[in-house]
Structure formats: structure tokens, C-alpha cells
């Protein structure tokens, strides 16, 4: 028997957009989590010690992927409901929430931060370099499709499935999705590198017949960009900070420009 109406779950999904408003070093997203689910807690527990205990229970440390937090909220509310009927103890809620937030953090961070965002960014960059003015809208529309799906359906799903949610999450085959996105990003990157690193040298103008100039320019730009990106990759993997790499590149470019090697 489910007590929470759909409207309330939708309200909680909406409140989950503000999950990290009060992010702090002690409880991380704890206040945001409690703020989001508090209407449901008020409905499930009568005023008094039970409600106060529920609030205190959810003021403890909470940290997960913000887009997957709705799933944790749904499962937690399903368990809170069972607690209010006296079917389970508080410990079960604590342990389930802790285990689920770690799992959702791992899945969500890997999917959204590590794979989806770079892929969408690379796709948007391909448009941006072409000066396509609707690029920001393309980026937002593409990025937010899975985001909003997990935000809104996650809570209904978590509430319905309860602790069986982990089994259901497996059906998405996240590792395969992530690998496909990674390959997609690499292909986009391979297109972007030779076409959008602007590297021009005056030697071609003086030494190459004009009919070969365009092709020569393209080849030099491609090779130059590949060398630059390879050096940058080596430096980044050697844990040199991105800003330092940018600064070094800037100095080298200014020196090469001063010597007349780059124009």
C-alpha cells in the first residue's frame, strides 16, 4: 500500500533541483536531501518525536551524483513508509541509503561527468567552431534529455521498486553506454583537432607553388595540431596543470611568432 501521491513525488523531484544549494563540508548534500524529502516525511510521520527523529536521521552525511539523487530519495521514502508502519527498523534505512548513494555516485558520475558531458561538449564544439549560433541550445537540449529523465522518473522508479532498484539499474548496461560515448567523443575529437587548431607558417607561402598551397597548408596544420595535442597529452598525463600548459603554449606561440615561424 503506497501512501504518497504522484503530485508529492513530482514536488520532491522539483525540490531535488536545489539539492546542493547548501553544500557544506560536514554533511555535503544533507540539508538539500532533507529539504527535498521533507514534505513526504511530514505526511508519513505524525508531529512529535517520530517526525523529529526522521528529520535528524536525514541530516546525516549525504553525497551522491545530483542527477541520480532522485532514485535514492524514492527508495528512502519507500523505506520511510515501511518504518512508519513498523515493518522495518531505522538501521535498514541508514544502511540502504548509504549503500545506494555510493552506488548511484559511481554510476552517475561515470555516466554523466566522465562520458556524457565530454561527448555532448565535443559535439557542441564541432558546431561552435563553425560559428553556428544555436550551439548553446543544441548543447542544453542534448545534455538535459537524460538528466531530466533521471531526475523525474528516478523518484517514481525508486519509490516503486524500493531496494530492488539496483537490479533494475543493471538493465541500462552503463559500461557499454560509457564505452560507446567514449568512442564517439574520440571520433569527434579526431575531426576537431586538424580542423580547428589554427597553425599557420609563412614558409609555405614562399616555398610552395600556389596550386599546392591549400593542400600543403592543410597537411602542415594537421601535423602541427597532432604534435601539439600529443605534447599536451603527455604533459597532462604527467600531471602538469592545464593552466600551466596553456601558459607555456602561450609563451612558445609568442616566441615563435616573434621569430617569424608562426603567423
Amino acid at each position: 500500500m503506497r501512501n504518497l501521491p504522484r503530485f508529492m513525488l513530482a514536488k520532491i523531484a522539483f525540490r531535488s533541483f536545489f539539492l546542493q544549494s547548501s553544500w557544506n563540508y560536514r554533511g555535503m548534500m544533507n540539508m538539500g536531501f532533507l529539504y527535498a524529502i521533507s514534505p513526504a516525511l511530514d505526511r508519513l510521520h505524525a508531529p512529535g518525536p517520530a517526525r523529529e527523529a526522521a528529520y535528524l536521521r536525514h541530516l546525516e552525511y549525504f553525497n551522491t551524483n545530483p542527477y541520480f539523487a532522485s532514485i535514492v530519495m524514492g527508495v528512502t521514502l519507500a523505506l520511510e513508509e515501511r518504518l512508519s508502519r513498523g515493518e522495518i527498523t531505522e538501521d535498514i534505512i541508514h544502511d540502504t541509503k548509504e549503500g545506494l548513494m555510493t552506488a548511484c555516485a559511481a554510476i552517475g558520475d561515470g555516466l554523466f561527468w566522465d562520458s556524457w558531458r565530454p561527448f555532448v561538449a565535443a559535439a557542441a564544439l564541432a558546431f561552435a567552431f563553425g560559428n553556428y549560433l544555436l550551439t548553446p541550445l543544441i548543447f542544453l537540449a542534448l545534455y538535459n534529455l537524460p538528466h531530466l529523465y533521471f531526475r523525474f522518473f528516478g523518484i517514481f522508479w525508486g519509490y516503486r521498486e524500493g531496494t530492488h532498484i539496483i537490479r533494475s539499474l543493471r538493465q541500462f548496461q552503463f559500461p557499454q553506454i560509457r564505452q560507446s560515448l567514449r568512442y564517439g567523443t574520440l571520433v569527434l575529437l579526431a575531426y576537431l583537432v586538424p580542423n580547428h587548431v589554427n597553425l599557420h607558417t609563412p614558409f609555405l607561402l614562399t616555398n610552395l607553388p600556389i596550386e599546392y598551397f591549400y593542400f600543403g597548408e592543410k597537411v602542415v596544420q594537421g601535423i602541427g595540431a597532432l604534435v601539439l595535442v600529443s605534447l599536451g597529452t603527455v604533459a597532462y598525463r604527467a600531471r602538469i596543470d592545464v593552466l600551466l600548459i596553456s601558459f607555456l603554449l602561450m609563451v612558445c606561440a609568442l616566441v615563435l611568432y616573434h621569430w617569424g615561424i608562426l603567423i
Binding site: 533541483f17 547548501s22 553544500w23 557544506n24 554533511g27 555535503m28 544533507n30 540539508m31 538539500g32 529539504y35 521533507s38 517526525r51 523529529e52 528529520y55 553525497n63 566522465d114 561538449a121 565535443a122 564544439l125 561552435a128 549560433l133 548553446p136 548543447f139 542544453l140 545534455y143 538528466h147 567514449r182 568512442y183 567523443t185 574520440l186 571520433v187 575529437l189 579526431a190 575531426y191 583537432v193 586538424p194 580542423n195 580547428h196 589554427n198 597553425l199 599557420h200 597537411v219 594537421g222 601535423i223 595540431a225 597532432l226 595535442v229 605534447l231 597529452t233 597532462y236 598525463r237 592545464v242 593552466l243 596553456s246 603554449l249 602561450m250 606561440a253 609568442l254 615563435l256 603567423i263
Partner: protein, 264 residues
Amino acid sequence: MPEHLTASLLIALIGGVVDLDSTATWQFMISQPIVAAPLTGLFLGNMFGEAAAGLKLGLMVGTILQLIWIEQLPLGMNVPPDAALASVLSVALGFIAGHGYESYSEREVCYTIALLLAVALGLLGRSLDMFVRRLNTGIDAWVSQKVENNQLWAIAFGHTLGGMFTFTKAFIFCFLVVWLGVEPLRYFTSTLSFKHASGFIVVQGLLPAVGFSVLASMCIKDRREMRLFIGAIIVFTLLPAKIWLGIGAALLVIYRYGWRSAAK
């Protein structure tokens, strides 16, 4: 002067809203440079009657900053440089300071210097973000105390206060930087000789390479992928678009087919 004040207030408002999106609320990714910078350019350009120019500047700045900070994420305790504020400020400073210049090269130099300055401001933004998080830690302790005394209203109050701190921080920071930063930037750009100035345009063209390196580091996991990546770059360099699109589609089909048979 009133126009400058209005522009500073507009940028402060955009900065506040965009910064809320970066961690505190929504996370629709309006705060990503590829969105935040064109958005700022559009509003600012509209104000100065040059909407298309503002949008184009925003796209250029957004592209470069998106690439430079593509791997920076607010995961757990990690507080990345504030790419959202850097994007907003880079476009604002570059556009307002470059607005007075007649020549293309002077404007481009102004944009590039504003971009480099904004990267440093992004680092300062990170420190401010950490400060707000420390303030929130104090609020958390206060809220816990109130809830223990059965004053449950404190949770909504404390949580809203956290969001307001984030907005206020970004608003004041953006306002002060734009209000005080435009004139020094204009002065600095005008002191550069043409020879130095054109060098900055070369730098602007090369900066995407840094972001591509970061993205390549994130995506390439082994030597085989590295070889495929280099091969793909050679194809994209030498062949026209129609041919490489055909090759790409064929490779994708072969890869899918091969992968499925291997799995069986």
C-alpha cells in the same frame, strides 16, 4: 558612465544566475562556458545594439574555456575553478573594453587578454566558492541544533540561505570586476604595440590544442586506441568530408558487427 553601470549590473545578475547553476541549483549546465559565454554575449550585445557580435564573441570565448576546463568537475570535496564566472567575465570585459576600438586586431587582442585575465579570475572564483561552502558548514551546524529542538522550519530557511550566499557572492564579484576592470584592461591593450598585439591572435588560435589534449587524455585508454585516434586524425586531415563520413559509417558497422560476434 550610466551605460557602464547598467552593463555591470546586468553582468552581475547573469553571473549570479549562471553561478547558481554550476553547483547550487538546477545543474542544467547553463554554467558550462559553451552556454554561459554566448548567453552573456547575447545580452550584452543586445544592450549595445550589437547582438550578433556579442553572440559570436561569446561562442569564441565559450569554446576555448570549455576546452581548457573540460575535465574540471565539482565532485565531492573537489572545488574546480569557477568556469561559469570566468566565462561571463571574459565576455563582459572583452566586449565592453573592446567596444571602443575601431580596428579588428585591437578588438581581438582585447578579447584574448580578457580571456587570459578571466582564467585567473576563475581561480579566484574557486576560493570564493570554498568560502561559501565554509559558511554553509556553519549553517549546517545551526540547522542541526534547531532540528534537535524540534524547530523544523530551520531546514528550509538554512537551505535557502545557502543558495542566497552563492548568488550574492557571484553578483558582487561580477559587479566589482566589470565596474573596476574595464578601464585598466582598455589601457593595457592600448599600450601594446601592433607587433605584440598580433601575437595574441596567434595564441588565440592555438589555445584549443590544450583542451583537445585534456579530452584526448580522458578518452584514450590504451595504445590501440591511440593508434586509431592518430589514424582518424590523418584521415580527417587528408580526405574531404564526404569520404571520411563514408569511411566512418563503414567502420562503425564493422566495429559493431565484430564486437557482437566476439561477445557470442
